[in-house]
């Protein structure tokens, strides 16, 4: 009998990868992708096989390490949230030019509606940019099944495969039927050196090979089990047809459950787009409606495929909202069906935004900053990505910017270059090692007049408390980068130490150069978890 398990989309991907003979996962935590790596870290077969699953310092180091494992002939997985793709992009794009040896699958978890992100970028563009196959599961079961296919296809066509998911699939549970695990690949170093050394002479040859593979990739999509074309009668003419991508397919099926109308429908879960399938659809329809979660990636391409007399509608034409994640109601409306009416919205309901936890050390850091900033009316505080971004909200309203991982230090430097004083950067420990260290080196090399606060809570807290790459190394890193010892301070952010922290902040703001202050106290969430565990073990 086959096993059935209730799994998150993320967990289905993780188990699918393990059972497909994975040898290593490389990742930096990021919502909604974090649970993939966490599942592999705690899975018994993964432990037994010694599958690599330790967190990486950032998405670029993850992508490169995975490529190294693929070079050695083994199957590797890279996981990240969509904006992590920007960090990994250099290695990612070039991995399509070198090609792979062992299967290489990159999971990008997009966050339409920005539940916990800074933008809505659609990673399918990255897949097209790199000219590699993209899988986009419509269900947890398909996500599981796709892993085996993605790894074997990667090895067949010698290219990495991108698996693109969205928050709603990543963080939704359903039953998944599990297949038997297969063995890992053995190490295999029978690689052609000229394919991996991307000197222009080799890169040109490799790039031509990549371009030549495109027809094969399209052909694979035409006959893929994950794509299909449902047409009632191919002789008939239809008012409209639908192309539904990824989980968009579910919303279409949900909408059409109690509907008489027969509509020809293409389900797309593998790219590049199956061009012939779409041409056939456009022969029988007056209009094609594109239902896709994310940006109008398919809509733009179908416009180029369909003849001029076929209307193409979707997010660009207003048939579906231009921004935000899809839901069953948007799709029902978009298809012209009635939505069910519920109760009216209640006016008494107030927004309840997330906040820094009670007892969190970041709170004390912001309280200290508030005092100091009140003394310097021109002070600007450049924030970064993490729990402490919540310092932007009341009662602190303490930061002036939050853009991308590491931007606090470099933006403070640029602002200081322009004459802003004081220019203060607030960055977390994990974000600092992810992308802050290089910026600090820039600042040190120019002796920029900035004050950097590395708010160290000994973990990657926002995503649930994963290990932080730099724990116990921050003083050494800062000194190594050239920060002067007398301008490097470690403090304990507690209300009783406020006077000392205020004094150090004032002193270092007045110092004309780079200073680093490290308020260090463990995250209250990870601390409580540890204490509960200790208590349970004692009983």
């Amino acid at each position: 009998m086959k096993d059935k398990l209730l799994l998150l989309g993320d967990e289905a991907i993780a188990l699918g990868a393990i059972n497909a003979g994975l040898s290593g996962v490389y990742a930096y935590p990021g919502t909604p992708s974090t649970e993939i790596t966490e599942f592999i870290q705690s899975n018994s077969l993964a432990k037994q096989r010694g599958i690599h699953s330790r967190w990486c310092t950032n998405e670029k180091t993850a992508m490169e390490a995975a490529l190294g494992m693929s070079f050695a002939g083994k199957r590797a997985l890279v996981c990240m949230k969509h904006v992590g793709m920007n960090v990994a992009a250099d290695a990612f794009i070039n991995s399509a030019v070198t090609g792979v040896n062992g299967g290489l699958v990159v999971v990008a978890a997009d966050d339409p509606s920005m539940h916990s992100s800074q933008n809505e970028q659609d990673s399918r563009f990255y897949g097209k940019f790199a000219m590699i196959p993209i899988f986009e599961p419509s269900s947890q079961q398909e996500a599981y099944d796709m892993m085996k296919k993605a790894f074997s296809m990667s090895e067949e066509i010698k290219l990495p495969v991108l698996l693109r998911i969205v928050t709603r699939l990543a963080h939704s549970r359903a039953d998944v039927t599990i297949s038997e695990p297969i063995a890992e690949n053995n190490i295999n170093l029978d690689v052609n050196r000229s394919e991996w050394v991307l000197l222009p002479v080799n890169a040109k040859r490799q790039y031509n090979k990549l371009v030549d593979k495109q027809a094969l990739l399209i052909n694979n999509s035409e006959k893929s089990d994950f794509n299909n074309f449902n047409i009632a009668d191919c002789k008939k003419r239809y008012k409209r047809g639908i192309i539904a991508c990824g989980i968009g397919y579910n919303y279409v099926m949900e909408s059409m459950q109690n509907v008489e109308e027969k509509i020809p429908l293409i389900k797309v879960s593998q790219y590049p787009l199956p061009v012939q399938m779409i041409e056939k659809l456009s022969e029988v329809c007056e209009e094609i409606i594109i239902v896709e979660d994310g940006q109008p990636f398919v809509e733009e391409q179908v416009k180029a495929i369909a003849p001029d007399n076929v209307k193409v509608s979707g997010r660009l034409t207003g048939a579906l909202p231009r921004v935000g994640e899809l839901n069953p109601d948007f799709v029902r409306k978009g298809l012209g069906y009635e939505v069910t009416e519920g109760f009216a919205k209640s006016n008494i309901v107030m927004p309840r935004p997330p906040a820094l936890c009670m007892g969190c050390g970041h709170r004390d850091v912001y309280n200290a900053l508030k005092t100091i900033v009140a003394e310097y009316k021109d002070a600007k505080v450049f924030g970064d990505i993490g729990c402490y971004t919540l310092g932007a909200l009341p009662p602190f309203t303490a930061i002036d910017s939050c853009v991308d991982m590491g931007a606090s230090i470099t933006m403070a430097k640029g602002a200081a270059d322009a004459g802003v004083f004081p220019a203060i950067a607030v960055i977390g420990d994990s974000t600092f090692t992810h992308s802050g260290m290089t910026g600090l080196l820039d600042a040190v090399n120019e002796n920029a007049n900035i004050t950097v606060i590395i708010s160290d809570n000994l973990t990657t807290a926002m995503t649930g408390g994963q290990d932080s790459a730099g724990t116990n190394k921050f003083e050494a890193i800062c000194l190594g980068l050239g920060v002067e010892r007398e301008h490097l301070h470690v403090v304990v952010p507690l209300p009783k130490n406020m006077e000392e922290i205020d004094r150090i902040l004032r002193q270092e703001i007045e110092y004309k150069g780079v200073s680093v202050i490290i308020p260090r106290r463990e995250c209250v969430q990870t601390l409580n978890r540890k204490l509960r565990k200790q208590k349970a073990e004692k009983q």
Partner: protein, 191 residues
């Protein structure tokens, strides 16, 4: 048969543990299930909700369409009302009446409860207090599950009890017993 449930509460109230219990029961009894959760930023004292769909038929969408939730199960009265547009016209709200005040804009308790009691199909009790009075302060969420069990209907009470045992087993016998007691108390209170 299909039951669409929205779970609501504030991060840390244990609303998603109830979903875990129902999920275990559904999987064991062969009922199809999809459950969309919120992770990440919303855990930090913000509002938390989860969409659960249970059906004997194939389930397509992970999300419940507007006006099609059969039940809203909530640990907090204002949070219960946040999802009113999703509640079916004959749907039920099963909620705690204990307000969780962690925002400056939170309305007067009385105003919230007045608004709540305008709902026709309502089971509302001060669960936190009941849990404390019965010396089971950590089981408020399971009392709520007991209160909702009649309306979940697609899964029997016996199966839910079995799943409470399965989910709490690793925490020891006394914890299992206390949660079963909490469940039965919830069932009784909702009669």
């Amino acid at each position: 048969m299909t039951r669409n449930i929205i779970f609501a509460g504030v991060g840390g109230q244990g609303i998603l543990s109830i979903a875990t219990i129902i999920g275990d029961a559904a999987t064991r009894t062969g009922i199809n299930l999809k459950q969309a959760e919120v992770h990440g930023m919303s855990q930090r004292g913000g509002d938390v909700q989860s969409n659960m769909r249970l059906s004997t038929e194939k389930i397509w969408s992970d999300l419940i369409p507007e006006g099609e939730a059969d039940i809203i199960i909530s640990m907090e009265p204002m949070e219960a009302m946040r999802y009113l547009p999703f509640l079916e016209k004959e749907g039920w709200i099963i909620t705690s009446t204990d307000t969780f005040r962690n925002i400056p804009t939170y309305p007067e308790d009385e105003a919230v409860l007045d608004e709540l009691h305008k709902i026709k199909n309502l089971v509302a009790l001060p669960i936190e207090n009941i849990a404390k009075e019965n010396s089971m302060p950590k089981c408020a969420n399971v009392i709520l599950l007991g209160m909702a069990s009649k309306y979940i209907s697609i899964i029997s009470r016996d199966e839910l009890r079995q799943s409470i045992i399965n989910v709490f087993e690793r925490k020891g016998e006394s914890i299992v017993e206390m949660n079963l007691k909490a469940f039965d108390l919830g069932v009784e209170l909702a009669q």
